[in-house]
Structure formats: structure tokens, C-alpha cells
């Protein structure tokens, strides 16, 4: 799989990251170098008996029972902006 055309800006957008022009240029080159090294994995012989569905990787769930959690106050103490016991954010829904 060719990686020469990593669209760093597009991938950064997926990750909700703004990049400066300089960052985008530097990262493009660095990531291509890293991916060149990663490409070596494509040549590794994979035996047929490798399990791809290893169930031990599935998260163990706790019982769905109410329990102690953080108090609203302790959560709001770390909120960048809050009012009326709620975290305040810029408008989410655009005006009609």
C-alpha cells in the first residue's frame, strides 16, 4: 500500500487538529519517513494460525449497577467555562 500521498492536512482534520503551514510541511516529510519504515511489516510472513479474533482483547464489562462517581461540583471545578451547574460551550446548533 503506497503511502507517498499521505494527506497530512486531511488526516489532521479527521483528528480535529489545526496545523500551521510549517507544521504540515514538516510533518509530511517526517511521517513519510516513518511510514517507509512501517512498510517493512508488509513483508512479514504471517502464519495461518494467527488468531485475529482474540476474545481476551474484548473489554470486560462491569454489572450495570449504579455506583459512586465524581460529584458534579468536582467535575465543574475543571471545566473551562460553566454556568448553572453545567459546562458552557459555544453554540452547537447553527441558527436557522
Amino acid at each position: 500500500m503506497s503511502h507517498e500521498h499521505i494527506d497530512v492536512r486531511y488526516v489532521a482534520k479527521l483528528a480535529r487538529l489545526d496545523l500551521t503551514e510549517e507544521e504540515a510541511t514538516v510533518f509530511q516529510k517526517q511521517l513519510e519517513s516513518i511510514m517507509t519504515h512501517v512498510e517493512s511489516l508488509s513483508g512479514v510472513e504471517l502464519p495461518d494460525d494467527l488468531l485475529t479474533d482474540d476474545n481476551s482483547l474484548l473489554g470486560i464489562m462491569r454489572d450495570d449497577l449504579p455506583g459512586e462517581s465524581l460529584s458534579p461540583e468536582s467535575v465543574l471545578n475543571n471545566a473551562p467555562d460553566h454556568a448553572q451547574s453545567q459546562i458552557r460551550v459555544p453554540k452547537v446548533v447553527a441558527d436557522a
Binding site: L17, D18, M35, S40, L41, V75, P80, K91
Partner: protein
């Protein structure tokens, strides 16, 4: 001064937790302006705890420095990042902190680290640079550089760090202290700010192997709040520690002793191996054939998991929010742009890329399969040996700022430590000597011991013997 000796002195009445903290704070005032291992510390709170310490507890009255990615109630938790610095105060204790407190210990100090644990030099901290106490022009290693440097510098008796690809063991090696990464799942990750959830483990950095056993004893154990926490009972880690290595088989993997290792590192590690042989161990050549793929495997999986874990840093619920966002999406973009440093951004982009549509199977799934081959290599070797010995890092600590512009060169230096995280096996770095390197006379060198899954007792026993070959603790 060690945890073990101080504990005895407390019981004898020769000193008190208050006096120890007072002395420690004087050493911090004298040494830390140069080393900069501490981001902050709350002496007043610690002295209150010291005054009321229960000396009957296993770690009663003993101060333990904490890497700044482990939540400790009421204390800042910056993860070495602008995103959280001067902003986030932990609203809860991580499980390891609860356990330390239950054992009577005093969490004291927030230790510098590479931002979000991404790095091998603590040069990626957005807050300050930590210098190696053995040579202030050199890195302390990373990402638990602050923890390792403080223990080496005499400004901490012992510390907790976290290890995802070597971040306890490598700084331990560079600073001449002991650093242990437990079996994956042995120590709860609840309250550790996640970097790569299938790789992260919290572990001790200490002045001696006995202390590592003592600290591991306090923090190990099942925790239902960590879904991968192991239910296996916690043995007495000190019980077999003085049993020596007579009759043990120690594997030397050819792939870990190839080209690219500094001669002084090789020399010290080989001398230590010879010491272990004289003590009665049998040295057995082994092979870990997929070693050369470890770095590539890690640098797909770890960034992938990091890209998911760090998506919680969105500027909404905690952390430093961008000041003038245009709209809600802009909150995310700007807060993350301002809050994250270049290495974090690089790894998030790399991780997002390898998980993205069209690339997931080629990169991420494939890396997980190669990971299984790396794990099999160890399992196969452990059928014929009790433990495996290797260097920790190809060179001693390099000069600050000497890393090339190609981050891949730094990533490749993680070659010896990464495989233990990929396989989940426990590993320890023990000081085994010093060497001259790149203009410095006597830089510490660590030897790494790797044991099978849940083989911490074996690890500590061999480590204690290796330590007796001659360590370079302290300045």
C-alpha cells in the same frame, strides 16, 4: 538512603518521616534548580501527612514522587502538556495512589515527563527540560525522565513512572537507577492518563532492587476499574529476591546484541552477564527472530491507540480551552492546536492515518498480527530459559538537543524496550556500570532482564544478583 533502610530507621526511631521530608526539600532546593525533575510539590500537605504517618504500614511515612500523568486527588496533573498545565486538578486518586496511601506512603511531587508520555528524552515536556544528574548537558531519558532523574539526584527516595515502550526502563538506565515495568495488567491503569491502553503500565523507579520489590508489592493487584487488570494473586515479591541465580538459565538473544550498540554499553552488559554466570547461572543463546519488526509494530499500534485516547482532549470538559473559538468545532481544533506539542500531534496524525478507512487492515491489523509473532518469540524462548538478558538502550544518554530532525532515529533507539510492552511481559532495568560516551566520562548503563508473564519474582531475583555486580547509583 533507600525505602528499605528508611523504613527500618523509622521503626528504630533514628529518624522520622518529618525529618526525611525536611531533608528532601533542602536537597530539592539545592539540586532541582539544575535538574528540574519536579514540576511542583506540596511540602505543606506532605508534612501534615508525615506528622500523622502510621509507621506500622509497609510504606508508612515514606515519600514517593509521582509522574505527572497519574491522577492524585487535589493535585495538578499536567502530563507535561500545555493542554492541562495550570488548569486541571485531579478530582480523584488513581488506584496506585489509593494503594500507596493505604500502605502509608506519602505521594510527594509531580514529576516532569515527555508530553502525554510520548518521547524518550523528556525533551518533549511543554513545561520544562529535565537534565541528567550525571551530566546536565544530557537527557535524563523519557518519558519518565523526571521520576528517574529525581531518584538519581537524591531529590526523591523512590518514584512511580509509566512505561508504554520503555519509559520507565530507559530513563532508569540513563540515570543509573532501577526501573521496573510490570506484566501488563499487574498494576491498575485506573487514574493513569492513557497513552496506549494495550501497552501502558505503571511501575517503580528506585535506588535498589529491594525498593522496587517493596513498591511493586504496594501497587500491584486486581482492580475491577481496569478492565484488563489481572486477577492473579499478588505473591510476596521479596520472598525469593535473595535466592541468587544458581541453576537458572538466562537467554541471550542474538538480535539484541548486533551492530549499533555502543561498545561501552556492550562491555558493561557482557561483564554483568559474566558475573551472573559466575554466580551459577547458565547462559543460553536464544533467538527472537521478529525483533527487527518491533519498532514498526509499536509505531503503528501505540499512535493508533493514542489517537483514540487523546480525542478526549477537546477543550470542553477540562484543560485549556482556546480563547476565541468561532464555533464548537473550532473549540476542538484550536484547543488541540494550542495545547499539543509537535510530537503529540505527529503521533495523533500517524495513529489516525493507520486507523483510517482503506488503511486499517494494511497497517493496524497487520501490526497486531506481527505483535502476536513477537509475543510468540518470547513464549518460545521461555520454554528453554528462565529469563532473557539484553541492553536497555543502544547508547548511554545523548546530549540534549542532539536528536536529528528525523524522529524515526529516536524511535529506533527504543528497539530493546518496546518488545516487552508489545508482549505484555515484565522487564526491569538495573544499573550495571558506567562508560565514557561522546565527551562524557562516566555515564550510567543499564542491563535489562525480561521474564515470562507474571514472572516478577524471577525478574527481581535475577535483578538483585545483577545489581551486586556493581551499580552506579547516584552522583
Amino acid at each position: 538512603m533507600s525505602l528499605t533502610s528508611l523504613r527500618q530507621q523509622f521503626l528504630d526511631g533514628t529518624t522520622t518521616p518529618t525529618k526525611v521530608l525536611e531533608e528532601l526539600s533542602k536537597t530539592i532546593a539545592s539540586n532541582d534548580p539544575r535538574t528540574k525533575a519536579y514540576i511542583s510539590y506540596d511540602l505543606e500537605n506532605a508534612l501534615q501527612l508525615a506528622a500523622n504517618a502510621d509507621l506500622s504500614k509497609p510504606l508508612g511515612g515514606l515519600p514517593i514522587a509521582i509522574k505527572d500523568n497519574i491522577n492524585t486527588f487535589g493535585q495538578p496533573c499536567s502530563c507535561g502538556s500545555k493542554f492541562l498545565v495550570n488548569s486541571y486538578i485531579s478530582p480523584y486518586d488513581a488506584t496506585v495512589i489509593e494503594k500507596l496511601k493505604a500502605a502509608g506512603a506519602i505521594p510527594f511531587g509531580r514529576m516532569n515527563m515527555d508530553e502525554f508520555a510520548m518521547g524518550s528524552a523528556t525533551e518533549n515536556s511543554a513545561i520544562q527540560l529535565t537534565r541528567n544528574p550525571h551530566d546536565p548537558e544530557r537527557i535524563a531519558g523519557g518519558s519518565s525522565g523526571g521520576s528517574a532523574a529525581a531518584v538519581a539526584d537524591g531529590t526523591a527516595i523512590a518514584a512511580l513512572g509509566s512505561d508504554t515502550g520503555g519509559s520507565i526502563r530507559q530513563p532508569a538506565s540513563h540515570c543509573g537507577v532501577v526501573g521496573l515495568k510490570p506484566t501488563y495488567g499487574r498494576v491498575s491503569r485506573y487514574g493513569l492518563v492513557a497513552f496506549a491502553s494495550s501497552l501502558d503500565q505503571i511501575g517503580p523507579l528506585t535506588r535498589c532492587v529491594d525498593d522496587a520489590a517493596l513498591l511493586l508489592q504496594a501497587i500491584a493487584g486486581h482492580d475491577p476499574r481496569d478492565s484488563k487488570s489481572l486477577e492473579a494473586p499478588v505473591p510476596n515479591y521479596s520472598a525469593e529476591i535473595d535466592n541468587g541465580v544458581k541453576g537458572l538459565k538466562l537467554g541471550i538473544p542474538a538480535e539484541y546484541f548486533g551492530d549499533g550498540i555502543h561498545p561501552g554499553v556492550r562491555d558493561n552488559v557482557e561483564k554483568c552477564i559474566q558475573h551472573l554466570e559466575r554466580q551459577g547461572a547458565t547462559i543460553v543463546p536464544v533467538s527472537l527472530p521478529h525483533t527487527s519488526h518491533a519498532v514498526a509494530t509499536y509505531y503503528v499500534i501505540a499512535p493508533a491507540e493514542a489517537s483514540s485516547n487523546l480525542s478526549r482532549f477537546d477543550g470542553i470538559r477540562y484543560g485549556n480551552r482556546a480563547p476565541n473559538p468561532a464555533d464548537i468545532i473550532d473549540v476542538y481544533h484550536q484547543s488541540r492546536e494550542l495545547g499539543f506539542g509537535p510530537e503529540v500531534k505527529r503521533r495523533i496524525i500517524l495513529g489516525t492515518y493507520v486507523l483510517s478507512s482503506g488503511y486499517y487492515d494494511a497497517y493496524y491489523t497487520r501490526a497486531q498480527k506481527v505483535r502476536q509473532l513477537i509475543t510468540r518469540d518470547f513464549k518460545h524462548s521461555f520454554q528453554s530459559v528462565d529469563a532473557i538478558i539484553s541492553p536497555v538502550a543502544p547508547t548511554p544518554a545523548r546530549k540534549i538537543g542532539s536528536c536529528s530532525d528525523d524522529p524515526l532515529q529516536d524511535y529506533l533507539s527504543d528497539i530493546f524496550t518496546i518488545a516487552a510492552n508489545l508482549s505484555g511481559i515484565p522487564a526491569i532495568s538495573v544499573p550495571c556500570g558506567t562508560t565514557s560516551f561522546d565527551g562524557a566520562d562516566a555515564l550510567p548503563v543499564g542491563i535489562q532482564i525480561l521474564a515470562p508473564h507474571l514472572g516478577e519474582q524471577m525478574l527481581l531475583r535475577i535483578a538483585k544478583s545483577a545489581e551486586q555486580a556493581g551499580s552506579s547509583f547516584g552522583i
